[in-house]
């Protein structure tokens, strides 16, 4: 069974349907890049996978567990927020605007999840957190507050914060869109190495170069529906759909 299985996912805000029946499978260790024009519903879909939004129809399974529900007695019971929080432990998320906790240092940001959510001891988590900072190349910034870090550094800390929960799946929502051009590379490098280490990732991005070199599969989303999907070379170099061609002509 695939790590992520989405079937017929629909979502409306008020009267506008933003997701119009999305089907998607992501295998373990696979990196999927979600591409598409603004307003296509990429962020919304990602947020549904992490149950930051509820869905109106369809179903999403992560590692065989129905997102936002508990299966018992042949029925799916909607989860209380507390239990939904428990499900989210296994899924890491990285946001466009970093969303680091500004009142805590880089190290404390990373330790927050393992200590407060998993209830682990500070001493043992501290060493792990330092190792994670090292991995994203920021060992010397352990005691810096987010306000003292550049955008690229903040985003790398945010990635480390998500990794600290040892997630099965990482979701990235335009992780480099808020960065100055010269800082994009350092974040993409961290994500590339994460992909090489076998992390399962869904990445919403406008970085076509990243999609081409790192993604196993590219999914192209327009107006809440999957228009085209396949290997990067198929979709990016030989797009079959006019919408895909239009979009690529603009961003390439």
């Amino acid at each position: 069974m695939a790590l992520v299985e989405a079937i017929g996912v629909r979502k409306s805000f008020g009267h506008t349907e933003v997701l119009k029946g999305i089907d998607m499978e992501v295998e373990r260790g696979e990196v999927v890049c979600l591409l598409g024009p603004s307003g296509a519903g990429k962020s919304t879909f990602l947020r549904c996978v992490n149950h930051l939004e509820t869905i109106d129809a369809g179903r999403i399974w992560v590692d065989g567990v129905p997102v936002g529900f508990r299966a018992s007695g042949g029925k799916l019971h909607e989860l209380r927020e507390r239990d939904a929080a428990h499900q989210r432990r296994d899924v890491g998320m990285v946001f466009q605007r970093f969303n680091l906790f500004p009142h805590r240092t880089a190290l404390e940001n990373i330790m927050e999840g393992p200590v407060q959510v998993l209830g682990r001891r500070k001493a043992e988590v501290g060493a792990e957190a330092l190792a994670l900072l090292e991995r994203v190349g920021l060992a010397e910034k352990a005691s810096a507050y987010p306000g003292q870090l550049s955008g690229g550094q903040q985003q790398r800390v945010a990635i480390a914060r998500a990794l600290a929960m040892k997630p099965k799946l990482m979701l990235f929502d335009e992780p480099t869109s808020a960065l100055d051009p010269e800082l994009v590379g350092e974040v993409l490098d961290v994500m590339t190495s994460l992909a090489r280490d076998g992390m399962t990732m869904i990445v919403v991005t406008h970085e076509i170069g990243f999609a081409r070199s790192v993604a196993d599969r590219v999914v192209f989303l327009v107006d809440g529906a999957v228009v085209e999907s396949g290997t990067p070379s198929d979709v990016l170099d030989d797009p079959q759909q006019p919408r895909t061609r239009q979009f690529l002509a603009k961003v390439l």
Partner: protein
Amino acid sequence: MASDTRMNDVREELVVVPLRHPWRWVSGTVIVLLLAALGWAMSEAQIQWEDVPGFFTHPVMFEGLLNTIVLALAAQGGAIVLGVVVALMRLSANPVARWFAVGYIWLFRGLPVLLQILIWFNLALVFQNISIPGLFSVPTNLVMTTFVAALLGLGLNESAYMAEIVRAGLSSVDEGQTEAAKSIGMTPMTTLRRVVLPQAMRVIIPPTGNNFINMIKGTSMASVIAFTELVHAANNISSRNLEIMETLFAAAAWYLVMVSIASIGQHYLERAYGPR
């Protein structure tokens, strides 16, 4: 090059005339004269200044001071706890809770504190017993002491203000913070305690400090129901010796001491939760 040197020579010859501030001198002098006049009036006034320190440290004054402090702290503390609860109800998804919070704030903020104190104090006139049928029943007179009536009157009014302050604080924290907390699996309670409230503090503390200073002074309203706080203590002392102004000044000095300490505390709290 040559012309540059000439320019420099000319510049060095120019004398600088500093801007003068004649009106600062005038207004400063007026203020000093007014203060001197006030000081002279005070020294001529028919006040036994030498008696004031005695009243300042009078045992009854100390009793009033202690009661003032306990009442102010209890009322403010209770108001903060209630305020957080009402603010959370105000922001909750449950429409009944939301409307209850709106009504609560409307009522307890809308009535004068003095009136609220009097209503609580006279509750026994309309409810002889406070009871939950089948569980317990106590005479209202026993429960509704002057302290409890003052505590309820001051605390409930303040809790309505605190609810608005806390709501503003919670709303000031970026939505992305809650999402990030959720995304690492935090429960709503942990998110509130570890992420949202600490950041809301920056917005919550300054007005809360101001309100607490108001609360210290507001406790004086409990004197109308004969609770022995500072003003009532001063009245008790002066009813025996008729040195009304002397005892009032002694009480005034205590208020200034308390307010000064509270202001210093507020300063340090603001610094502790300040921006990084």
